[in-house]
């Protein structure tokens, strides 16, 4: 029994230590945002990597998310004779929830895992140490541009996701189910207010921070060779995804 308790205590201490280290990592990286030089080219490269190269998967996911939402929504709303509200239902779901969450999860899977693996390989091949020896701050040079790019890119990808998702819903509602385009879009115009858009964007901003923070942290502190890189990548994706959903709940409950 005491061994069991000891194990729980030990695991708790490791967890607290890890949380503390993650927090200090974030504080250190945020601190480098305000120090010179600002490496604009590095940030642009990361925007390209995290943002532009995630576009295809975002568009694809958004189209089908919007289509399935319209299909399911139509089926449910038709039971109450409220099919006219389909446009509003799709738009509100997309803008407030599905857009930021699904965009966040897609970016985690496509770019987050790559961020962890890239930094992990740099760590085990001593490239991060090489930067330190050259007198270049690795957090400033490697992590800061990725975090800044994440903060810029996620809201943009979310907006794209929202628009494409609503258009996906339009395809099903108007082209497939025969609803009028005026009814579909008219409902959106009346139902969606600025607060909904802010909520979605705040979520996207938070998810951008969480994903790049967790993924760069896991990569930056990778240990034990190739196996360590694979473990770090897996745990980065799992932790980021879970934190995105947890954070989504809390932001929703605060902003509702």
């Amino acid at each position: 029994m005491s061994a069991f308790l000891q194990r729980i205590g030990q695991a708790s201490l490791i967890l607290i230590q890890e949380m503390g280290r993650m927090f200090l990592f974030l504080v250190s990286v945020l601190g480098t945002f305000f120090t010179l030089p600002i490496r604009g080219q590095n940030i642009l490269r990361q925007i390209h990597f995290i943002g532009i190269r995630s576009l295809f998967v975002i568009v694809l996911t958004a189209v089908f998310a919007g289509m399935v939402l319209a299909l399911q929504g139509y089926y449910t709303l038709s039971k109450f004779g409220s099919e006219a509200l389909l446009g509003q239902a799709v738009a509100l779901s997309m803008i407030r929830e599905l857009g930021p969450v699904l965009a966040g999860l897609m970016v985690t899977g496509r770019a987050g895992s790559a961020l962890t693996a890239e930094l992990g390989i740099m760590r085990i091949r001593e490239q991060i140490d090489a930067l330190e020896v050259m007198g270049i701050h690795p957090l400033k040079f490697l992590v800061s541009p990725r975090l800044q790019a994440g903060l810029i890119v996620l809201p943009l990808l979310t907006v794209i996701f929202d628009v494409i998702g609503i258009m996906g819903g339009y395809l099903v509602a108007v082209q497939l189910l025969g609803m009028s385009a005026g009814t579909y879009f008219g409902g959106i115009e009346t139902a969606v207010v600025m607060h909904d858009i802010y909520t979605g964007l705040i979520k996207a901003l938070s998810f951008g921070l969480i994903i790049t923070w967790v993924c760069t942290y896991k990569g930056y502190y990778t240990q034990r060779g190739a196996e360590g890189v694979s473990q770090a990548t897996t745990s980065a994706v799992v932790l980021s995804s879970v934190l995105v959903l947890v954070c989504d709940y809390f932001i929703t409950s605060i902003m509702l």
Binding site: I121, Q127, D129, E132, V133, M134, G135, H137
Partner: protein, 339 residues
């Protein structure tokens, strides 16, 4: 010049030689005063630095590559004999009672050592004996569990990050695995520290990169990526990156591991040549025993986390310590047990 020598000229990397080597070539009767003078004039006309005279002589076919390298080495040996290291004099880096453990295993156990300034110091010892860990302590990549590491008058671990970075800019470290950046070409890898830490113009950077790559016989490989190079070529590219910034202190972690004997020899000469031109403080971890004794001033033998012996390379080479003898001779029987 024989066919063999001509072939050697083509295969062994060409390297710059300092002017005293030109004089030595003259003394050894390998070239005439007129040839030396003409070559010097030619170098000047082509806007080349004087130390490139050795290379020009080889390119003109007046001497062979091996004749140039032998003269260079003679010069180095003579200089070394004239400037032996006095213990404690002008030490650049000092370790005082440094201890470091990993997962309960003590790798450094009260290590006390001094790295003399403006000399080539080799650290030798069995694999896993803490040599690379020692090197990483010198640049603050690792902090000791106990003890002190000093670089000049700065005690690492007690200075700010900014001060540490200033000190680090005086260092250059060749990592065991090269640590080249995968996303950059060879040329960009070598240029990287210059672009990031100096105000040199792009033209100057390109000039230095070109020369550095030529020195390690990687001319023509500028646009290749590290994963397109062999292990030995990656090592040489990393060596070029370490030398290009012209630091105060160069740390080389096994610079010749995994290289063929010809390139290994050429790298040894390159190190001697660089030293004679620049007088950098050099610390080299090497398993190239006994060759290492020929091209270092000072040797430190690490054993069981402590300095077993330290002194002029010839003294260590002739040491009667059974541990050192076993290590130098590569004997399986002796105080160092593996089973």
């Amino acid at each position: 010049m024989s066919d063999m020598n001509k072939m050697a000229t083509q295969t062994i990397p060409l390297k710059p030689a300092p002017l005293p080597v030109g004089q030595r070539l003259l003394e050894n009767g390998l070239i005439t005063a007129k040839q030396l003078e003409e070559t010097l004039v030619e170098c000047k006309r082509n806007n080349q630095e004087a130390y490139l005279i050795g290379r020009t002589l080889v390119e003109k076919g007046l001497i062979t590559q091996s004749e140039l390298l032998n003269c260079l080495f003679q010069q180095f040996t003579q200089e070394r004999a004239a400037h032996q290291v006095e213990p404690g004099v002008a030490a650049k880096i000092r370790f005082k009672g440094v201890e470091k453990s990993f997962d309960g295993r003590k790798v450094l156990d009260g290590l006390d050592l001094e790295i003399p300034a403006h000399k080539i110091t080799a650290i030798i010892g069995i694999s896993g004996g803490g040599k690379s860990v020692t090197l990483k302590h010198m640049v603050g990549l690792m902090e000791p569990d106990k003890g002190e590491v000093w670089v000049d008058d700065n005690r690492l671990g007690t200075i700010s990050r900014q001060q540490l970075n200033t000190i680090r800019k005086r260092f250059s470290l060749l990592f065991q695995g090269g640590a080249l950046f995968d996303s950059l070409t060879v040329s960009d890898n070598v240029a990287f520290p210059l672009r990031e830490t100096t105000d040199l113009s792009e033209a100057e950077i390109q000039q230095r990169v070109e020369r550095s790559l030529k020195d390690v016989n990687l001319a023509g490989m500028e646009q290749k990526y590290p994963d397109e190079l062999s292990g030995g070529m990656q090592k040489r590219a990393a060596l070029a990156r370490a030398l290009v910034i012209r630091p105060d202190i160069i740390l080389l972690d096994e610079p010749t591991a995994g290289l063929d004997p010809i390139i290994e020899k050429a790298i040894h000469y390159l190190i001697c040549d660089t030293f004679m031109r620049t007088r950098y403080t050099m610390v080299i971890i090497s398993h190239a025993v006994p060759a290492v004794f020929d091209w270092c001033h000072h040797v430190i033998v690490l054993h069981q986390g402590k300095v077993r012996a330290a002194g002029p390379s010839m003294d260590i080479r002739n040491s009667r310590d059974p541990v050192i003898r076993q290590f130098i001779n590569g004997d399986l029987d002796g105080p160092i047990q593996f089973i």
